[in-house]
């Protein structure tokens, strides 16, 4: 929901970044205010996923210029965990399987790290289990997934639900969903989108990175941006996504180069 008076959460200015010495982001600008949902679309290789990793602070991505301001503070020097504790959350395109680490322990350690950072009481195993069982409802997830190793043997849809469960527990200020919809069947997509909608409120913001307009039928964006060659080359409302769906990315070539 667009409210011109709300706070700017994220302000990305002229961001450039390399992967293995190759420039991928080439001057990206984006401003996200509280309450807003942004969708970033674009072809494979346009830099969408790189942008999400750079926001989260992945060490393999080297920022070569520009800045990322989060509530006005430059976060480029912060570690990934420090960014997470401040409220930045990345839902992974390919959530990792971590054999041997139980999902419940992982969620509890993550949750308590956040509680500690906020100066709040950490929860013991029993209280945490109560909380997590309540949050399972957000993504209609079965409690049996808590006892398994993190994402190990989960189907694609279960992994994505587990990402949204983490988001529900960590209550981020800005959530970046990297192709969370890719490969999901329609039922799983509805559940995941339903979870994201439940968690969105006037104080936080969501950035959806996606290939497909279909997701936007379930989560209505306030802004749609199109990325190409490491930059946002076009921004608009949700009608832009419909136009992309109908006409493909080809129309961009003409408009951008014109």
């Amino acid at each position: 929901m667009i409210n011109p008076n709300s706070n700017v959460i994220l302000s990305v200015k002229n961001l450039t970044a390399n992967v293995d010495g190759t420039p991928i982001l080439k001057g990206l600008n984006l401003e996200v205010k509280a309450g807003e949902i942004h969708a970033i679309m674009g072809r494979n290789g346009s830099g969408k996923s790189t942008f999400s990793k750079v926001l989260a602070g992945h060490p393999d991505y080297e920022v070569t210029g520009g800045e990322i301001l989060y509530y006005g503070e430059n976060i480029l020097d912060l570690e990934p965990d420090e960014r997470a504790l401040k409220g930045i959350f990345l839902a992974f395109q390919y959530p990792l399987e971590i054999p041997g680490v139980s999902n419940l322990d992982f969620l509890r350690v993550a949750y308590n790290s956040r509680q500690k950072a906020l100066g709040l009481a950490e929860l013991d195993t029993f209280d945490f289990e109560d909380l997590v069982i309540e949050k399972l409802g957000v993504v209609q997830m079965d409690a049996k997934f808590l006892d398994r190793s993190v994402n190990e043997g989960f189907s694609g849809g279960e992994k994505k639900r587990n990402e949204i469960l983490q988001m529900a527990l960590l209550e981020p200020k800005v959530a970046i969903l990297d192709e969370t919809d890719s490969g999901l069947d329609i039922d799983a997509l509805r559940i995941v989108a339903g979870g994201v909608n439940q968690l969105a409120n006037a104080d936080n913001a969501t950035i959806l990175i996606t290939h497909y307009q279909r997701l936007l039928d379930y989560i209505e964006p306030d802004y749609v941006h199109v990325m190409q060659a490491g930059q946002i080359v076009m921004s608009g409302g949700k009608e832009l996504a419909l136009k992309l769906e109908a006409e493909g990315y080809e129309f961009l070539e003409a408009e951008v180069t014109a």
Binding site: E79, I98, V101
Partner: protein, 457 residues
């Protein structure tokens, strides 16, 4: 022609260092009943003959190409004098689940005053050969040193001078629910000690046993990097799982930072028997564990789990051999190593699947985690299959902590140190979780956390 003494020695394949070690071993007093002294004398003579005709291995021997014994050979080990251990020292080794089924040997000698066997059910004997009824002694000696690899130099050396024999024996169809804690305590003495523990585990047909075999130093439960006078623990444990019997054997090696450990576990499996082991190697300056499984009948199951954790300049070598010779055997081996600092882990795992071993299912996996650029691993998974109707897999991995897994955890607000701890704990847990005693699992998992902590200082 004049032949120098050195050359003559070389021609005769004698090894002056080994000869001295043999002399020490041969003068060891052995505690057995007089009725079986004839058997003992014969055993010692035969073993001495084997030792005298061999040399201690060097890196020129294929089986020892990664493990250098020169440091060991620089030390003159001697039979240790008798020593006492007080009960307070013992307390830190006691496992709550096995408080009343604990048998303690000090420098290889049975210490009844430290043992508590009040919780044992009828039908199981735990103690030493001397305490075993005479009739059973005559049976026991049919098992000792009869396995196929008793001529190997360190095992033969042990046979020439073990000071005592630990015996755990479950009678036919007896299920022993209570875990039996076999604790080999070393008390280092000012003169470097030659300690030769010897044990015998027999699970008669249809019986079931859980054994926790622990090698510790009587200064503290954790003596990993405590300097003691050097000593050599040359241990042999022979396990017989008879028809349809089950043995779950956790072997936990925690020598001091100055100790040398050469250990052998020999397992002879009769038909339909199960043998499971968790072999945990955390201690010693240099350790070598031979784990040999001999299949003597069809339809056996064998599960070998191992975890080695080494840092500083520790060397830890595990050589396993699974010799199948009958049909429908199942073997599954998982050996994991965590290697830090300048430490060196070696794994060699042989599985023989000859023509007679049709319908075998054999799996073997060795996974290694390197925590420092100087850490070293040598791994040799080896399957030798001549049977044509079998299902066998093997593999080995060597890796560092996965950067993507680390990033995933960090992206959830878990700091780098805690994330590494979680991943290390998970790596070790795959093996530790198979230990049947919760208290030991927990203790060892704390040890993994404690030992890998210094990474982040």
């Amino acid at each position: 022609m004049v032949v120098s003494a050195d050359l003559l020695n070389a021609m005769l394949q004698t090894d002056a260092y080994l000869s001295d070690l043999l002399k020490q071993s041969q003068t060891q007093t052995i505690r057995v009943r007089s009725e079986i002294s004839g058997w003992l004398q014969e055993l010692r003579q035969k073993a001495a003959y084997e030792v005298a005709h061999q040399q201690l291995p060097t890196r020129r021997d294929e089986e020892w190409q990664f493990t250098d014994l020169r440091e060991l050979k620089a030390i003159a080990f001697q039979n240790p004098p008798a020593v006492n251990v007080d009960r307070e020292t013992l307390a830190s080794f006691t496992l709550p689940e096995a408080r009343h089924s604990q048998v303690v040997f000090v420098n290889g000698v049975f210490a009844p005053e430290l043992s508590d066997l009040t919780g044992l059910p009828p039908g199981v004997f735990v103690g030493n050969l001397m305490g075993l009824p005479l009739e059973a002694n005559y049976d026991a000696i049919k098992y000792i040193a009869h396995q196929d690899d008793a001529t190997e130099v360190f095992t033969a050396l042990n046979s020439t001078g073990f000071p005592d024999v630990a015996v755990i024996w479950a009678e036919t169809n007896v299920t022993v629910e209570m875990p039996i804690h076999l604790l080999w305590l070393t008390v280092p003495t000012p003169n470097p000690a030659l300690i030769q523990p010897r044990g015998l585990v027999i699970a008669d047909p249809g019986s079931s046993l859980t054994v926790i075999e622990q090698y510790g130093v009587a200064i503290a439960a954790c003596a990993d990097f405590t300097n003691t006078p050097p000593y050599l623990n040359n241990a042999v444990l022979e396990v017989f799982t008879r028809d349809n019997a089950r043995v779950n054997h956790t072997r936990y090696q925690r020598e001091s930072g100055s100790g040398f450990h050469i250990g052998k576990t020999v397992v002879v499996q009769d038909r339909d028997s199960h043998y499971t082991t968790q072999s945990i190697n955390f201690g010693a300056k240099l350790s070598r564990h031979h784990l040999n499984i001999w299949q003597k009948g069809p339809n056996t199951e064998t599960y070998l789990n191992g975890l080695t954790l080494v840092d500083h300049a520790q060397v830890s070598d595990t050589h396993s051999l699974i010799a199948l010779n009958h049909s429908h055997g199942i073997t599954d081996q998982l050996h994991k190593c965590i290697v830090d600092a300048q430490a060196h882990a070696i794994f060699s795992g042989k599985v023989f699947v000859p023509q007679a071993a049709q319908q075998t299912q054999a799996a073997q996996l060795n996974r290694n985690l390197l925590l420092s650029p100087q850490a070293r691993v040598n791994t040799q998974p080896q399957l030798q299959i001549t049977a044509d109707n079998v299902k066998c897999t093997h593999g080995a991995t060597v890796s560092q902590i996965d950067a993507d897994e680390l990033f995933y955890l960090q992206s959830r607000g878990i700091n780098a140190e805690q994330a590494r701890d979680l991943l290390l704990d998970a790596f070790a847990a795959e093996v530790l979780d198979r230990i049947p005693l919760p208290s030991l699992r927990q203790r060892l998992s704390q040890c993994v956390a404690c030992r890998t902590e210094e990474l982040f200082v």
